[in-house]
């Protein structure tokens, strides 16, 4: 429903914006010459066209349009797939989709095999003449098997009758299939089926696993036929399966053929037994000839025109079922681009772009589901608020040794088994957070964890990197002393450090924050240093003549002068940290957006993967916009000095 509305909306938006844009181009005086950047300004309508196209392509290639407009089509196509699959077993005997009759191609193949083996034997140096003569006689006998199968006159009446029966069944099915009330379903059957359908759920439905509270992947396309049309195909497929089973059991073995093949087998067996170990080559050739004979035995080779009637019946049914598909065929061609459901056969899964490209509607549904704190991912919400007592934070901040260094002893229980609290004990309760105050909301969850890691890594990087960078920009010793250290670790891709740092500092926050600290530190040092050493000498001279001390010059001239560089550095560092974090969370950990994506990857949860990609993109964008706003606010003089 939503998909339909969105599709229509963006469709008309695109058309409207294109018309508006054309009108604008016509009415606008085109006075700007080519190459003038002014010409690229404005044009929100083209933004709408661009993003709408993107969404439209997504909707189309994820098959969401098909799902939105024809929600039953996948299920029906699945039933068609079943029919196709059942028909395939019958069809492949005939030149319907193949080039030639199966019998013909098999005869060709075995003739060729016999010829090859003949040539090999004739030219073999490991065989003596006597062996060669015997083996060639086996080949000739095997060759004589084929006419025994293809001779119309030798076809037994019983076999003919069977072929006739099967053909009759196919024709009957064709007739029934065309009737509107096929297949007949009792009230009971109908109710059972509809119940099963509703239990199975619709196309691409997502369910929450009641046990773990996480979203589980369910079958993509429902198997049980939900519509009358689908049921028709489903029933036909089942009947066809029975028919093709029957056909496969049928063998064209007349008595003469049976005798002949028994004779060949016996002769070869005896011959092989008569050979001793030194004549292994001959034995092997004999074995290979026997293999060919057996293949001919099981190949269901028929006389050239024996199956003509059956072929016609199958073609007729094929035409009828294609006709019965009606509009479904066009839906399949038009609305299931880059793949199809029919190709999956009776397994009813999406094959093609619809498989790995999640539908926008499903993605949105899952995202809404995952956003619920009770669902989340792996028992942890994406972003939620927890009420935490302030005492716990106080206990976390205050070190425990404060209580230890106080004079006196901790309380000891008395003879009555009562513990009397004393001052030292009370202090211990405070520094360990073992008391109650009031509760404050504290955010937590995957998004919050990722955010905090970046934030902390960045803050530490700034707190240490900026002063150090400024110092290095102004002091020869500092520059010389710290440069090797920084230049040694900076060129190494941050992720290369990750395994080391994570194994030393642990997979939890400490390791990741330290990794991000390393990333941001080098960036902040370099930008602060560039800012400091880029200060114009005349400004520093001016400050000196105005009576500023060294410290004041640092605080009031060099620092503000480096601020643009520092803030740009922060912006770069945020981007780098964000990229590194996600990859680090891939490596190890139990929370964070990268972790969610990594787990989703393991279970092929494409929607979740896309959701995490969106979350990361949005958060990255949010960081950047916020920083850009801050930069514009704090250093309006940038580039104007």
């Amino acid at each position: 429903m939503l998909t339909q509305a969105v599709t229509f909306l963006i469709f008309f938006a695109v058309i409207g914006c294109i018309l508006y844009g054309r009108k604008l181009i016509k009415t606008e005086k085109v006075d700007a010459v080519f190459g003038n950047p002014e010409r690229a300004l404005g044009g929100t309508h083209w933004v709408i066209v661009g993003s709408s196209f993107l969404l439209l392509i997504w909707l189309y290639y994820s098959w969401d349009i098909a799902k939105g407009f024809y929600p039953k089509s996948a299920n029906e196509l699945c039933q068609v797939a079943k029919v196709n699959d059942s028909l395939l077993g019958l069809k492949y005997q005939f030149p319907i989709e193949e080039r030639e009759l199966k019998s013909t191609s098999q005869i060709k193949k075995e003739n060729k095999n016999l010829k090859n083996i003949n040539i090999e034997i004739q030219s073999s140096e490991n065989l003596n003449n006597e062996q060669k003569i015997i083996l060639v006689s086996f080949i000739n006998k095997t060759n004589q098997l084929i006419p025994l199968l293809t001779n119309e006159d030798l076809l037994e009446n019983e076999t003919k009758q069977k072929i006739y029966d099967i053909t009759g069944k196919i024709n009957l099915l064709t007739e029934k299939f065309q009737k509107p009330d096929y297949p007949f379903e009792t009230e009971q059957e109908l109710n059972d089926r509809l119940k099963a359908v509703s239990e199975e759920g619709g196309w691409g439905i997502t369910k929450i696993d009641a046990g773990s509270g996480t979203i589980e992947n369910t079958i993509e396309v429902p198997l049980i036929p939900a519509t009358n049309k689908g049921l028709k195909f489903h029933a036909a497929a089942q009947e066809l399966n029975l028919i093709s089973d029957e056909f496969f059991k049928l063998r064209n073995h007349n008595p003469r053929f049976k005798n002949k093949i028994k004779e060949i087998k016996d002769q070869i067996k005896t011959y092989r037994k008569s050979l001793d170990e030194s004549e292994e080559v001959a034995s092997n050739y004999a074995k290979n000839i026997m293999k060919i004979a057996r293949r001919i035995e099981f190949a269901s080779i028929y006389p050239p025109n024996a199956l003509d009637m059956m072929q016609n019946a199958i073609i007729k049914f094929e035409n009828v079922q294609i006709k019965a598909q009606g509009g479904l065929r066009f839906i399949d061609i038009l609305l299931f681009p880059a793949g199809t459901i029919v190709a999956s056969g009776p397994s009813c899964s999406e094959q093609g772009s619809g498989r790995w490209l999640p539908k926008p509607s499903d993605t949105l549904n899952k995202f809404i589901l995952m956003s619920k704190p009770s669902v989340g991912y792996k028992d942890i919400p994406l972003l939620w608020i927890d009420m935490v007592d302030v005492s716990r934070m106080i206990g976390f901040i205050l070190p425990d040794w404060i209580a230890d260094i106080l004079p006196g002893d901790y309380p000891i229980h008395t003879n009555d088994g009562i513990v009397k609290q004393n001052f030292k004990g009370n202090v211990l309760n405070i520094v360990t957070g073992n008391f109650k105050l009031f509760k404050v909301p504290v955010p937590y969850g995957h998004i919050w964890d990722s955010f905090m890691r970046v934030f902390l890594g960045l803050v530490f990087g700034i707190l240490i990197g900026v002063p150090l960078g400024l110092f290095m920009g102004l002091n020869r010793f500092a520059k010389g002393f710290f440069d090797p250290l920084i230049e040694l670790y900076r060129p190494v891709p941050p992720l290369a450090w990750a395994p080391l740092i994570i194994s030393v500092l642990g997979i939890d926050n400490t390791g990741k924050v330290f990794l991000l600290f390393m990333v941001s530190l080098s960036i902040m040092i370099i930008s602060a240093r560039a800012g400091a050493s880029g200060t114009q000498l005349s400004k520093i001279h001016a400050a000196h003549s105005l009576g500023a001390s060294k410290r004041q010059i640092l605080r009031y001239v060099i620092f503000p002068n480096s601020l643009p560089e520092i803030l740009t550095g922060i912006r770069v560092a945020v981007g780098m940290c964000w990229g590194t974090l996600v990859a680090a969370e891939f490596l190890a950990g139990t929370t964070g957006i990268g972790f969610v994506e990594n787990v989703a990857k393991k279970y092929f949860q494409y929607e979740v993967i896309w959701i995490t990609i969106f979350i990361m993109g949005m958060l990255g964008l949010l960081f950047d916009i916020t920083l850009r706003k801050i930069i514009d606010k704090t250093i309006p003089w940038r580039g104007k000095g």
């Binding site: 114009q536 005349s538 400004k539 001279h541 400050a543 009576g547 500023a548 503000p560 003089w637």
Partner: protein, 265 residues
């Protein structure tokens, strides 16, 4: 005695390549309190070097320079500097730039803001106190630089081509402003310029410097600055005496330049 006295001042630079440049050679001069000295000379004759030494930004190779009988051995508030490009702090507003020196001394903020307003009025920037400096024109920026320097009440004001980057009209107005301030405050001023006219107009005394090694080539005592306090500057330029002096100095500098070019070719 609040004179600026220079005795046998020598400045020899060593370039990283190992060459030596004799930027100033045996400079001897005395500048009395309240005098306005303009310095003229071809490019590279050591004018900026002289000013930097006076300001205390660099130390001379040999010789002594004293202000008020005290040897100059570093930058100080008693010597204010105005640079060619203003060298304003663009992250501060006009008023914050002007009171920078007072703030560094932690002076009373009410008094400071009073002073700032006074000085802004003197340099003709009343009402621009809260404007960011990057929004000002070149002439306005130089006024701010002047006010920033003067609010500290220095004994000596050093100006290195302060009007060099301004257009002719603005420049003329600023020249009057410099004269006006000179008269009203009675400060000692050294002003470096490339314009012969400006040097003649503003300089009570005028040094023409010669390069390689940098030295004082000729010294003038001029009446035009005192005239400029009463008369219109453009009228002075029409003065016959003024024209003669201008031709003389121009020729002198031309000859020097020719000599340099000849040497180099």
């Amino acid at each position: 005695m609040s004179d600026l006295v220079s005795q046998d001042l020598n400045m020899i630079f060593k370039t990283p390549k190992g060459e030596t440049v004799h930027a100033l050679k045996d400079l001897n001069f005395t500048l009395k309190k309240g005098e306005l000295l303009t310095v003229l000379g071809p490019s590279g004759c050591g004018k900026t070097t002289l000013l930097n030494i006076t300001a205390g930004f660099i130390r001379p190779t040999s010789g002594i320079i004293k202000l008020n009988n005290k040897e100059i051995d570093g930058p100080g508030v008693e010597r204010g500097m105005v640079f060619q490009q203003g060298a304003l702090f663009e992250w501060l507003t006009v008023a914050e730039n002007v009171d920078f020196g007072l703030r560094m001394k932690n002076e009373d903020s009410i008094k400071t803001s009073q002073k700032v307003n006074e000085w802004l009025e003197i340099v003709g920037l009343k009402g621009f106190g809260n404007t960011p400096t990057y929004q000002l024109s070149g002439g306005m920026q130089q006024r701010v630089a002047l006010a920033r320097c003067l609010i500290n009440d220095p004994d000596l004001i050093l100006m290195d081509e302060p009007l060099g980057a301004l257009d002719a009209l603005t420049r003329e107005k600023m020249q009057s402003l410099v004269l006006k301030i000179w008269k009203e405050t009675g400060k000692t001023i050294i002003l470096i310029t490339h314009s012969v006219e400006e040097a003649l107009l503003l300089g009570e005394r005028l040094y023409v410097m010669a390069p390689r090694p940098g030295r004082i080539h000729k010294e003038y005592n001029l009446p035009f600055a005192s005239m400029g306090l009463k008369e219109d500057l453009r009228e002075i330029k029409k003065n016959k005496d003024f024209g003669e002096k201008r031709e003389e100095i121009l020729e002198m500098i031309w000859n020097m330049e020719e000599e340099i070019m000849g040497k180099e070719i």
